[in-house]
Symmetry: C2
Subunit: 196 residues, 2 copies
Amino acid sequence: VIAEAALAVGDREGPRAMTMRRIATELGCDPMALYRHVADREALLDAVADRALAAVEVPDQAAPWEERVLAVTRGIRSAALAHPGITPHLAARPPLGRHGSRIGAALLAALGSAGLSPVDAVRTSQVLVAYLASSLAMAVHAGERDGRWRQVSRAVAALPESPPGHELMAAGSAEQFEYGLRLIVAGVRATVAAGE
Amino acid sequence: VIAEAALAVGDREGPRAMTMRRIATELGCDPMALYRHVADREALLDAVADRALAAVEVPDQAAPWEERVLAVTRGIRSAALAHPGITPHLAARPPLGRHGSRIGAALLAALGSAGLSPVDAVRTSQVLVAYLASSLAMAVHAGERDGRWRQVSRAVAALPESPPGHELMAAGSAEQFEYGLRLIVAGVRATVAAGE
DNA sequence: ACCTGAACACCGTTCAAGT
DNA sequence: ACCTGAACACCGTTCAAGT
């Protein structure tokens, strides 16, 4: 409802424009009118974040667990990056709304059918969420003006053990995200194998 | 130098107090005097972040790679959490200062002796940094007033597959951090084994 | 030439004054 | 009783006015 307007502002003008006053003028109403519907700025951003997650589809329960984990995490990533205005907030706070729980449950279920104990499934899901959050934050920052993150690549390339003449994957890129995702999934597989 | 005062303010009053004006009054000088030494607020926080990393010790090169990876990442985590005022900034931006590069090089070296190709070592180090960043952000947020993160645990506990009567590890806790670290290391081990 | 601090353009939120 | 918008207490940064 009100979150739609906030999403529009964020998509158009970036995260720094997602301010009470700016959103209010988007709606053509007084800034204080927003406080009729939400407690404060943070609560509003939470609502917007959950709305952005509505686009994430939960995978078929019958699919192999690796596929399901990859599908959910990729879904979250692309849904978040579709609305760059809210991505930083999504990366900084756990989404506890309707869609957040729906997605979280799907992730837990997938990890459960991987053979992890319920406790380990929760732990592992938190690891995945942590990795996801950082990847989103990096992807957003990488798109920013100053090009600071390109400096990272250059700094890494200047290190003694750097691969000469090899193109490095940009921090926050989809390829780098996939690499880490597979690394973690491999870790889960090893954990399950060791536990049996 | 100037970063010391900023660290003191941050430690005492939290991240939200790390403002140009607040730091200036800590030093007893005009807020504008800070702009003589740094370009803007972000550059100042970068300097503070690098200073906080000075406490991280690089492990013995002769130790097994797993130990070295764990030592470096734990070192970063405890150094960051020793100065909660700067932790969010440290988690949000790659530290490119002197200590940041020193630590990054140590991490790359450890991953190199694990048997990863130079390119994969860089990729894996980025995964570790991403996980570290989120863990730090969670640890800081977990300590905040509102107790929002405790809600996460409760929400998880309410899920169908939740472990009944089992104490969940808090998001951002040291135990949860260790679990993820070992998961990633296990993933690295599996990657190396598969590549040979 | 250098440094200070008043001023600008914001921000989230409170709260008294209107209807 | 409800809603508006002026006002408060900030913020980072600019820039003209002082030395």
